[in-house]
Amino acid sequence: METGSIVVPRRVVPFARPEQAPAVSNARLAMIVLIAGESMLFAGLIGAYLVFRLAARNWPPPDLPRLPLGLTAVNSVMLLASIIPLSRALRAARRYDRRRLARSVGQTALLGGAFLFVQGIEWVRLVRHGLTLASGTYGATFYVLIGCHGVHVLAAVTWLAVTALLARRGAFTAGRQAPLEMCAIYWYFVCGLWLVLFPLVYLS
């Protein structure tokens, strides 16, 4: 009896034509749901902040240091400026310009990292001047709200750094740019969130 190999027909998955592709991809839908959840988290934190802020007769309390407005304003400009290289990166991805894409995403990550660094310096100075997590509702709400945003920036910067490395290796070819777009959407969310938090905490 002769033995032979069984030929298994290869299943060919056809590409989805543009008119058949869904208007909102699964990745984008997942990112929208994630951002909605994150927004609710921050809405809860802002709600708690509003209770303490509006109920207090003196805000900030007279014995605690004021928040450094000038430094944080410059830091905010740096964070918002990071949107420019990210937009450039998305344009480079559409043109399949690998070098420019990696460089622009790297610049965005650097600006985000610089924002975190300056915020870290600011926090160290505030702690040295006596504003800690335990110094009343003022310190607690400040560190929880701004710290929560900082954790999100840290996550986004890590994501950007990984994306820059992948872009350098040429991972984002035609039709495989969803991770880059998701990273960009998340960074836009983090920057937009700061536009709400900065006036609320520092200017009010």
């Binding site: 543009p18 008119e19 208007a23 909102v24 929208i32 909605a36 927004s39 609710m40 809405a43 809860g44 802002i46 709600g47 708690a48 509003l50 209770v51 303490f52 802020r53 509006l54 109920a55 207090a56 007769r57």
Partner: protein
Amino acid sequence: MTISTRRPLRLVPVFAIGTLLGAAADALAQSCAMCGSGLSDDPLGRAISWSILFLMAAPYTIVGTVALSLVWIHRRAAGRRRAASIDLARLQPAAAGEPSGGGLS
């Protein structure tokens, strides 16, 4: 002369938003009857009322924004699809009239 019947319906969201904004005026910033009667006089009560109002508005705002953006994306995609089909319809008669150049019979 055609009379548009859709125009009055477009004003409904405007009236709804206006009513909601009016209800959230300073004097009416009491998120519920209990909060209004029990807490409205002192600063803490007012702070809690404003916070509850904010937290009530947050999910509607977020879900509304997501829903509107999804509707917008779908409409844009439908428009693109329509534009592509119109282009194809324009190209087809021209392509049909062209010689099949290079084909072997």
